[in-house]
Symmetry: C2
Subunit: 354 residues, 2 copies
């Protein structure tokens, strides 16, 4: 390695995604110089282990970014919106996991397996990482797009509760404890009555023994913000401004790993054998597709792993240009921390290659 | 009422769907004369309550059908295949809930809200009721088809475990008891290890804290039997032999009520306001669609009720002829026993109108 090891800041180090990021920094080849862990003043002062060293969490201030080359923002939208430009002004390249800048024309939206080149052109000094639902499917879909030419995506999600943060996981675990060992689930309203009003739940309905077809906020015309994010982000990452996308986002009682049922229509006819070849060799993808032998991805197989897993690949019976697939990806790893780390490592390469 | 009250036989009275049928027979307007409850010799002799009367369950024999006008078959495919023709030979009209005759050209496949007329023409003396997944969506889709002209369905299911019978429910409850109160669900394979090999489970993977993208048997080319059933049955019930259908069937940890994410493309443009009007007034449909107020159907709202519930209705952003919807229906009621009862009641009308 020539050049110098860039210094890194992890903003939001004490959150769910921050915790996964610290694991990844300890697991991946270490390209970093100093690593600063940063959180809100309330969470600062605690000590966390990264790269085998106990490290004190610093409070988020303007001065903390002095001397930082790359700053990872793993925080809510409004925190990124305020603080990312400050980090840039202090000299850092920001890699942002929030939605604050994803659709900004001057901010590249990057999935390294698909458009790593885009991370080098960043007029605002910020690189954005997509939503976890987009990330759970786009690596696999992007690999097929490169060969067949993607025209339309119709996707339904089976989303894990951890994408609603610590509260989502806590609410599912509380609700499971209340319904386990009961006969609930067969009479009108019995689950809802047993679980009470769900005050403070991030979900609009019970999530144990249930599925909840609503994720994010009201985006108008009946759409949720998460559904429109998938459309806009797939278009931007793939460079297909006219791509047809229709998404339905649904929470399921799974802790971590998003699953997506995908109908993908291409410009050209898709032979399953060729799709299998592409997916079996695509970077970041695991093909796990032999249903007669019980081989298809499920969240319990995929959680904690890095790749996007693909199974149930079949040519649509009524449209030879379309394939159906079932795709799983850990929403906390590739869906969040891993993609940010990959972007950051490619930015780090700019320093080490100087 | 003129004519006479026809006599009824319920074959499979001791099963999950049989139990729901006995409730329905007690709840609906009583059009029946004698009601015989029938089960395998092993389950015969027990006493069950129907229409307020304790009734002994009779063993399945040829003679038991003597004097029966209408026989409901709520049993596995192979039992229907063998015994339905025997019941017909003894003079009964059979309404069959199994897959044995659904695609037989000489057997009508009936959803009373859509094609009740078809039940009157039954060359083999048998009327079939569709699969629970088909039934969970077809009443709503059929209502829109009548106005807009259906061309394509792309559906992903969120299927309840009770469609795999008593074993499915028992396995989910056992698995929930093992995972509740634990921190399982975030490490590779932790759920699968905690739950063991799942011997005797009808699911090919853990169903607690998981989703399982496989329902039914291997139907070739990567498809499951349940997925192809939706295609063939929607075509037959709607009378659209060229309808494009692509289905993905996925079990979720819900006890009862199937949910379906539906992309429906029509010949004509679909205005959401008009779709709302149609769904709000269609027989057998409840429109529950105001997501900003938290109004969308979930299994816990719908279980134990008769109608098909529809929400999340929105025009596809990139295709004004297509709508997205989220549809829920109780797989044991409209998805099985209720539809059979409705068909049987329309057949009963032939007797009472004599």
């Amino acid at each position: 390695m020539t050049g110098r090891r860039p210094s890194l800041a992890v903003v939001g180090a004490t959150g769910v995604i921050g915790g996964v990021m610290l694991q990844i920094l300890s697991q991946h080849e270490d390209v970093w110089g100093e690593v600063k862990l940063i959180a809100s003043p309330r969470a600062a002062g605690t000590k966390l282990v990264v790269r085998g060293e106990e490290t004190e969490v610093l409070p988020l201030t303007e001065d903390v970014f002095d001397g930082v080359d790359v700053a990872l923002f793993l925080v809510p939208d409004e925190v990124s919106a305020r603080w990312a430009p400050i980090a840039v002004a202090r000299g850092a390249v920001v890699v942002d996991d929030s939605a604050a800048f994803r659709l900004d024309d001057d901010v590249p939206l990057v999935v390294p397996e698909i458009n790593s080149h885009a991370a080098r052109l960043r007029p605002r000094g910020i690189v954005a990482s997509p939503n976890c639902t987009t990330l759970s499917l786009i690596v696999a879909v992007g690999a097929l797009h490169a060969e067949f030419g993607l025209r339309e995506l119709i996707v339904s999600s089976y989303q894990a509760v951890s994408s609603a943060g610590r509260d989502g996981v806590a609410v599912l675990r509380e609700q499971l404890a209340l319904v386990a060992g009961t006969e609930l689930g067969t009479r009108p309203g019995d689950v809802r009555r047993a679980l009470g009003e769900g005050d403070g739940s991030p979900f609009a309905a019970p999530v144990a023994l249930n599925v909840v077809p609503w994720a994010g906020t009201d985006a108008g015309d009946g759409w949720s913000s998460e559904e429109l994010a998938i459309r806009a982000e797939c278009r931007k990452v793939l460079g297909l401004p006219d791509l047809k996308v229709a998404a339905t986002c649904v929470y399921v009682p799974v802790v971590a790993t998003h699953s997506m049922s995908v109908h993908a229509r291409f410009e050209n006819e898709v032979a399953v054998e060729r799709a299998h070849e592409i997916l079996a060799t695509a970077p970041g993808v695991v093909l796990f597709d032999n249903p007669a032998a019980g081989d298809f991805p499920t969240p319990s197989d995929v959680v904690g792993t890095d790749p996007t897993w693909v199974g149930r690949v079949r040519q649509s019976m009524d449209d030879p240009r379309a394939v159906e697939m079932f795709i799983c990806g850990d929403n906390l790893r590739k869906g969040a921390a891993l993609n940010v780390a990959q972007i950051a490592e490619s930015v780090a390469g700019e320093f080490t290659r100087i």
